[in-house]
């Protein structure tokens, strides 16, 4: 058995995730705690943006997670459609609400920054519009996955949607380079290194690490619940047949 087959076995998942869950949870709490302390107290205000620059410490990591969660969903959907791994399909389902929440946070916090800095809550530029499309892809995935009485059919249809919707991920990422957007281009993930002072970069990266560990912990919580729910359904069927 290859390593991913072993990882994808529900029994093995239940044993290793029980170890990973508290580690991810504590790392999330630690990174977010220190990141917030540095971001709110130790880091300076921006010379142009003033104190609104602090919105970046939640906005940018949330937007990264929005793209990261969707990419993970596309990968696990491929794993399900190609190798028929049932746990991969459950993993996609478990990740979707996490990604949707991060996308919502990115949209709302961006809007709260846009009003004082751009003078508008919202513009239909390529970055904001493609991020809104990403949010609707998450909602569409969740609706489609639950839309069938037969969870296998729902899982298959929703996996195809998740995979096809992946074309939007590079559009969100590179929209600021491909089109003239009101949204500024990347200043951290750049070929020539981050164009941001370490006093701001350190809390930003800590928050990003914290959000990543948070996402891992919540996906594990949801995935453990789903594995147990499948087990419960099987037991209930057995009980019904035994009667």
């Amino acid at each position: 058995m290859s390593w991913w087959h072993r990882l994808a076995s529900p029994t093995r998942f239940m044993s290793y995730s029980a170890w990973v869950l508290p580690i991810a949870g504590w790392l999330a709490a630690g990174c977010i705690g220190v990141g917030l302390a540095l971001g709110l107290f130790a880091s300076p205000a921006d010379y142009q943006q003033g104190e609104t620059v602090r919105i970046m410490y939640v906005h940018v990591p949330a937007a990264w997670m929005a793209l990261f969660c969707y990419s993970a969903m596309a990968a696990s959907s491929a794993g399900y459609l190609i190798w028929k791994q049932p746990l991969a399909e459950l993993a996609t389902r478990a990740t979707a609400p996490v990604g949707a929440c991060f996308t919502a946070i990115a949209l709302v916090s961006g809007s709260l920054w846009g009003q004082p800095m751009w003078g508008t809550w919202w513009v239909w530029d390529a970055r904001l519009t493609s991020a809104l499309v990403l949010f609707f892809l998450y909602l569409g995935y969740m609706a489609l996955a639950e839309a069938f009485d037969d969870p296998t059919r729902g899982g298959k249809a929703a996996s195809i949607l998740a995979l096809v919707g992946f074309v939007n991920v590079p559009i969100v990422k590179f929209s600021v380079d491909w089109w003239n957007t009101l949204h500024q281009p990347a200043s951290v993930v750049k070929l020539d290194g981050p164009a941001i002072d370490p006093a701001m970069l350190v809390p930003l990266l800590l928050m990003a690490a914290g959000f990543t560990f948070y996402a891992v912990a919540v996906v594990i919580l949801r995935l453990r619940a789903m594995v147990l729910e499948r087990k419960i359904q099987a037991l209930q069927r057995q009980l019904a047949e035994a009667r």
Binding site: E51, R54, P97, L112, L221, E229
Partner: protein
Amino acid sequence: MTDGFFAMGGYAAYVWPAFGVTAVVLAALLLTSRRRLKASEALLRDLESARPRRREVNP
């Protein structure tokens, strides 16, 4: 009120809601996910005690 930590240089009305929304959304997602796991763990315990495993009775 343009000085002091909570005033955020006059941008308190934008900075604090951004952090507040983040905290509320992430906390709500964490709590509902945890509740769902606890509920399924409890239900599974009930079902397994209602139906003793054959392995345990007859090893």
